[in-house]
């Protein structure tokens, strides 16, 4: 077990080196989008509106944190892995080393987790400054951590499955971007027709934003959503193992 953890750290080590060298630009670029959303939707558009008994600003901040954890963890894990696989070919070095596939997958996901947490906490600070009714509990931090992990594993899986840069940017526009807007980040799903709801509840970000919002606004915690989020994480991990085994054919 401790050997496996060491291996995970070895895999992460490279990406940490890279992060240390470029952290300013990496963090800055990941913050641009959520900050724009925060200003445009939360502060600009939603100032006088209230939703489900709270101001729209208070409502939307947890959603934007969920969105940040999602997009940053996903792309943080996926983009470096893609580069390693196709441009540097350095991923082959991992595959040819005595490190197990499991450690490789977790190690490659962790850089996404770390970047996701950094960006989410940065947005969180801005959110705290804007909205006084925001509660940060240990549960909130736990949900955020789990979310980042789930989304980073999603990034790893996608980077294994999609074999081209073009495919990756198509996936980003067709799946990732719509998810950031629709998965309960900017509006409450209770307003939607049943069919649309059903679709959105099969996406992990929906569960993450509901959990984060509930803890941040001290609403009843949707325990099942949290379980579903876990299940997604497990599914992404197992699917990554499967794909990686297939790839070496």
């Amino acid at each position: 077990m401790s050997d496996a953890l060491k291996d995970v750290y070895s895999i992460l080590w490279v990406d940490l080196r890279n992060l240390r060298r470029h952290w300013r630009s990496l963090v800055a670029t990941s913050l641009v989008q959520p900050l724009l959303y925060l200003v445009a939707f939360g502060y600009g558009l939603g100032k006088g509106i209230s939703l489900e008994g709270v101001s729209y600003l208070a409502f939307v901040i947890p959603g934007i944190i969920a969105l940040t954890s999602f997009s940053t963890s996903f792309s943080g894990a996926a983009s470096k892995l893609q580069v390693d696989r196709f441009f540097y070919k350095s991923f082959d070095e991992c595959l040819m080393s005595p490190v197990s596939l499991y450690s490789i997958i977790v190690g490659k996901a962790l850089i996404g987790v770390i970047r996701g947490l950094i960006s989410s906490f940065a947005i969180l600070l801005v959110g705290l400054a804007l909205s006084p009714m925001f509660i940060i509990s240990p549960l909130f931090v736990l949900v955020l951590l789990v979310s980042c992990f789930v989304f980073a594993l999603f990034g790893v899986l996608v980077a294994f499955v999609i074999d081209s840069h073009q495919g990756m940017s198509t996936f980003n526009s067709l799946v990732i971007l719509p998810m950031t807007f629709l998965c309960g980040t900017f509006f409450s799903l209770s307003q939607l027709p049943a069919a649309a709801k059903a679709v959105l509840y099969v996406l992990p970000l929906t569960h993450s934003s509901e959990c984060l919002r509930a803890t941040a606004l001290a609403q009843p915690f949707p325990f099942w959503s949290f379980c579903v989020l876990f299940a997604f994480g497990l599914a992404f991990f197992l699917a990554s193992v499967f794909v990686l085994k297939k790839k070496s054919v």
Binding site: K6, V14, R17, N18, S97, P98, S248
Partner: protein
Amino acid sequence: MLKECIVTEKLTKCYGNVKAVQDLDLTVYSGEIFGFLGPNGAGKTTTIRIMTTLTKPTSGRVRINGLDVVKDTEKVKKMFGVVQQHLSLDRDLTVRENMEFHARLHHLSSSERKRRINELLDYVELTEHADKMVDTLSGGMKKRAAIVSSLVHEPEVLFLDEPTVGLDAQARRRLWDLVRRLNSDGTTIFLTTHYIEEAEALCGRVGIIHQGRLIALDNPLELRRKLGLITVETLVDNKETHYKFFADRAAATKYVQNLPPDVKTIIIRDSNLEDVFVELTGQKVGDV
């Protein structure tokens, strides 16, 4: 006496209809520099990828030091180092960091890492460049960096896939010297190349691969001897070069003296592996 190091049995790899490697039977012995010579697309990289566990064979098997690369993957991975055809260093890192990454992947302790990395940097004279980003190095230095990275865990076998492609003549010679030095220090070398001179200059034995099949296997001199050690090139009607092979200079000279007058531009030279390849396949190594 001779210890088997890499043994392949009926090794076959298909990609759809393409048979990249077909029924390859090959034994590489410990301590030798074995050269795998063939044109682009012959199946060299595929063979190395199978031997280094990156690709699974369609059928047949490979053993390294008696261990099956598919079944005993974990153990086999400790035995070899590989420098791929395309640079596979992480270009966001320095040379030293790349080496450290390899050392970590192979579970070296922190003191071992330090010792081994400094030793190797010194061995290939990269110490002053150790803390430069990989991308700022010249082609020859990048290759040497890749080689020392792959040697961090002291593998018994080193795979080099077309190690000198894209290098200038000087860098190439320097790399050859390094390969020889590594070999005389005890590392078994399996290298692929499509450069005739490289196979002749470096390799104790050469396997010639063509369209996935091994078509000849011996030491370079023996391969040439089978064909004839002397080549006579003649230009007929100013159009086409003809090649004839002779066991020795005397026989070649005799042939030349009796040529009809319309045959021009005669060259008598030592035969080489290119001649062997052309004779066996009807193609030049550079073709395709």
